[in-house]
């Protein structure tokens, strides 16, 4: 799953990169600008053409002897060579140099320029000597004519003829220089022959001059056709058109590039269109999947709602179940409370029982029976009552006995009255416990002003019999505590239980005095703290957490409701009951902490 996702992601990015690079490729292909290279190259070719023309002009100028300086015939070629090198340096950027067509054109140009150079060099050489001889001809002729003028001993007519011949020869040569026709050449040959003949007629000192003239004319005759033919050949060399060919190639190439550029433009257009279509397609797909998602969402929502309804129904069922359970629990609770109440009532009934027992025992052993016996004696001696009382041995004792009896009966009555008062108090407590049970059943706890010390005394008194029986010494560590508002019966319930527990805890104690410490104080001005401390068997650590649990007890006859109900009662008073023991055999300290509520009218 994960691998395939990564793979598809890789594929997607690959596709994206491919498309992007394709676009870039097409863009580059369609926008490469060959203009500068082409224009440079064409410019160079143009300049070479210009130089070629200039070269030809200079050749013609040299031909007609306007210029005597041959540097201008060198410079254009040098410049053309330089430009060609420059051209070759930029040309390879067109990537056409390998192509046979281009190479052929270049070779054609180079061959031609080489040939033309060769011809021009020959032209320069031949033209130089030709021009020189032509320039010399008039001078040479003048020299000869001057020599003729100085000849004294010659036939004037013959000299005249020779001069004419020479002059004709000169003219023929000059004409030949203009039009190098065969006729003129023949004329010159005739003239030369005449000159040779004439030379013999002239004196020795003129022979050299004539020879020089002859030589130069021969040179003209020889060189002029050569120069002419060279010129014709030079003109025939189509350097310019070869350059044009190269320019043509450039034009074609550029056109081709333009075409390919246009083609790439088209490709790019098509490609872009395809991309747009793809995008469109993907957008539609996206919209569709969006709709799909929406639909699924709606379905989910519907399903969700159904689910909620079902959950609600279930919740309702659960609630019902819960309330049933609650009812059950309540009943259980009520049962627990009942057990509680009965336990407490049992505790108090113990006292009632004891009181009743005491009264019964006192009544059974009452001295009032003695009164009956005394009355019997009186009744027996009804006649001689006076004698009997004064004389009879027994009768003399009677008044004293009666006096003693009165005292004893009065004492007895006093004891019975006290015991009955205690009994009635216990019955009151039972009444209260029952009332408390009613409060569990929903009635709010009854808050009343309480003197905590009195409450403690009541609790002690309720346990007084047992405490006396078990020889427990009670140490009272009461601090100054104001009258507080509290739930008397809950407090009392807790205290009775704690005192009772302390008493039981010390029941097996024999090695040290059984001492119980009751404490009361106010902590932090906000908490009323009542503590019951014993020196008994203590609480083991593992039991420490369980002692408040319902049904927990360490006693054989215990039922495990005492501390549990105490803890509940403490919580119901917004307080709490805690236990502390240093361990088994080290006694225990129970502390009740409840919020301090000072009764109105107290400060």
């Amino acid at each position: 799953m994960k691998v395939s996702r990564r793979l598809s992601l890789l594929l997607l990015s690959g596709m994206t990169v491919l498309l992007a690079s394709m676009l870039v490729f097409l863009y580059i292909k369609s926008s490469t600008d060959p203009a500068s290279g082409y224009s440079d190259a064409r410019d160079l070719i143009g300049r070479m053409k210009q130089l070629n023309a200039q070269w030809e002009t200079e050749i013609l100028k040299a031909r007609i002897a306007i210029s005597h300086d041959y540097d201008p015939l060198v410079a254009p070629l040098t410049e053309m060579t330089r430009l060609w090198q420059q051209f070759e340096a930029i040309e390879p950027s067109h990537e056409r140099s390998d192509s046979a067509v281009w190479q052929a054109r270049y070779d054609a140009y180079l061959t031609l320029i080489k040939e033309k150079t060769r011809l021009v060099e020959q032209f320069k050489s031949h033209n130089a000597v030709l021009r020189n001889s032509l320039a010399f001809l008039p001078t040479a002729e003048d020299d000869i004519q001057n020599q003729f003028a100085h000849l004294q001993d010659h036939d004037k007519l013959q000299l005249q003829n020779i001069a004419t011949d020479t002059y004709d020869l000169l003219l023929s040569s000059l004409e030949f220089a203009q039009v190098a026709s065969d006729d003129k050449a023949a004329d010159i040959l005739v003239g030369q022959n005449k000159l040779v003949v004439n030379k013999l007629r002239l004196p020795e000192e003129l022979h050299e001059q004539v020879d020089i003239l002859g030589n130069h004319i021969a040179l003209i005759l020889r060189e002029q056709p050569i120069v002419n033919s060279l010129l014709t050949r030079i003109e025939a060399i189509p350097v310019a058109s070869r350059l044009d060919d190269i320019t043509d190639l450039f034009n074609k190439d550029e056109q081709q590039i333009d075409t390919s550029q246009q083609r790439y433009h088209l490709y790019m257009l098509v490609f872009s269109a395809l991309l747009v279509l793809l995008l469109l397609f993907m957008t539609i797909r996206l919209l569709r999947s969006f709709a799909e998602i929406n639909r699924v969402n709606r379905d989910l929502q519907t399903a969700n709602e159904g689910l909620e309804q079902r959950v609600e129904a279930r919740t309702r069922e659960l609630k019902d179940t819960q309330s049933e359970l609650l009812d059950t629990a309540r009943q259980a609770g009520m049962a627990e409370i009942a057990t509680n109440v009965l336990h407490n009532v049992g505790n108090v009934l113990n006292s009632v029982n004891i009181s009743a027992d005491l009264v019964t025992r006192k009544l059974r052993t009452s001295k009032a029976l003695g009164l009956g016996k005394a009355m019997q004696l009186i009744n027996e001696h009804r006649g001689d009552l006076g004698h009997f009382i004064t004389e009879d041995e027994k009768g003399k004792l009677l008044p004293g006995y009666l006096n003693q009896l009165v005292e004893a009966i009065a004492l007895e009555q006093q004891g019975i009255t006290d015991e009955l008062a205690q009994l009635s108090k216990s019955v009151d407590h039972i009444k209260d416990i029952v009332a408390t049970q009613q409060s569990y059943a929903g009635a709010n706890s009854l808050m009343e002003p309480l003197q905590v010390s009195e409450l403690l005394e009541d609790a002690l008194r309720m346990n007084s019999g047992a405490l006396t029986r078990h020889h427990v010494t009670v140490v009272k560590d009461y601090a100054e505590v104001p009258t507080v508002m509290g739930d008397k019966h809950r407090m009392l319930l807790i205290l009775i239980n704690l005192i009772s527990n302390a008493k039981y805890a010390m029941s097996d104690l024999s090695d040290r005095p059984r001492e119980m410490t009751l404490g009361v104080k106010v902590v932090d001005d906000s908490i009323l703290q009542v503590s019951v401390k014993d020196e008994g068997e203590g609480i083991s650590a593992e039991n420490m957490t369980r002692i408040f649990a319902h049904g927990f007890t360490t006693r054989k006859e215990g039922h495990g409701f005492g501390l549990h109900s105490c803890a509940l009662a403490a919580i119901e008073m917004n307080g709490h009951l805690t236990a502390h023991s240093d361990g088994p055999g080290k006694g225990a300290l129970f502390t009740l902490k409840i919020p301090l509520k000072i009764a109105e009218g107290e400060t």
């Binding site: 210029s67 300086d69 540097d71 060099e121 050489s125 000597v129 020189n132 001889s133």
Partner: protein
């Protein structure tokens, strides 16, 4: 007029004063151009290489061994001595103003100064070396190594050695000859005879070949237009074939590059064969075999006087 313009005008006037307020003359002969502006590092490197004997295979010869710049750019022998102690077969032409020749060597076989240097170093009679060895030798020299590194992006290569030499040689112009000053308008600098000499030089047709900026050196010409020089001289050598050696064209037999006449007075002996020991002899040969003319002694003397004005300066001193 702004103060700047005024100053400029004064400067120009002062600068032109020695020229005696004359225009340059329009003649078939042209004054030397100024020394071209080039990379000074390459020029200096070329100067060192020009005097570097390690260019020859046995460290015996440098360019300067045969081209004495202060003596006209050649040597005073008909044939210089090669690395192996054997004389060469052709006269050493001057290196001064060589850059103004349209081609190099007597037979014009080198199109550029670079080609010329290439040929001389490799010549089995001149330096007898090969470029691999030259490049290796120079590369191991730290001074050259760093100098080439500074002057050329690719360091020591055969092409760069040739280019450095050529670059230096382009600066070897024998400036300030009296004739150049004359051409530039200072017409008083030539004596009357010299001016007549120039006139004769033109009249006799010397300028048919010796013209332009280098007074020659811009065309080929057959040696012996008006007569057979070689037959007269005898003792034919291969070098006498001239350009034929390059083209194998019968047309080019005995054809040579027309040499420059600059500093001709101090460059004896003359011609490719060094056969003419003096300028007079050379002028005679030219008249006889090239011009086909017989000058008067007076004209010849005038022309020789004129040729003396073509001697320029090197290193600030007259050659």
């Amino acid at each position: 007029m702004s103060p700047y313009g005024f100053t400029l005008l004064i400067t120009l006037m002062l600068g032109l004063c020695p020229m005696a307020s004359a225009e340059p003359l329009d003649e078939p002969l042209k004054p030397l151009p100024p020394v071209p502006v080039q990379d000074p590092q390459r020029v200096e490197l070329g100067r060192q290489l020009f005097n570097e004997t390690r260019l020859s295979v046995n460290n015996s010869l440098s360019c300067a061994s045969c081209h004495h710049l202060e003596k006209g750019g050649g040597d005073n022998k008909a044939f210089s001595i090669g690395f192996n102690g054997q004389p060469l077969t052709i006269n050493t032409p001057s290196v001064l103003n060589a850059s103004l020749n349209f081609r190099q060597f007597w037979n014009g076989r080198a199109a550029t100064l670079e080609d010329q240097a290439h040929a001389v170093v490799q010549s089995p009679t001149e330096m007898g070396n090969n470029w691999e060895h030259v490049v290796q030798t120079l590369s191991t020299d730290p001074a050259y190594h760093s100098a080439f590194g500074n002057a050329y992006p690719d360091g020591v290569t055969a092409a760069n050695v040739q280019n450095a030499l050529a670059t230096y040689e382009r600066t070897l112009l024998s400036t300030n000859s009296r004739f150049d000053q004359y051409l530039l308008g200072n017409t008083d600098i030539l004596s009357l005879d010299e001016k007549y000499g120039y006139q004769r030089f033109k009249d006799y047709g010397c300028i048919a070949c010796h013209q332009g900026v280098n007074i020659g050196g811009n065309m080929y010409q057959k040696f012996g237009v008006m007569g057979d020089y070689f037959q007269a001289r005898g003792n034919l050598t291969e070098s006498d074939l001239g350009r034929y050696l390059v083209t194998k064209d019968e047309e080019d037999r005995n054809v040579f590059k027309v040499p420059s006449l600059r500093n001709v007075a101090v460059n004896a002996p003359y011609f490719h064969d060094g056969a003419a020991k003096t300028l007079e002899e050379a002028v005679d040969v030219m008249f006889k075999y090239q011009l086909g003319r017989v000058p008067s002694d007076e004209d010849k003397a005038l022309i020789i006087k004129f040729l003396g004005t073509l001697t320029g300066e090197w290193g600030g001193k007259a050659l």
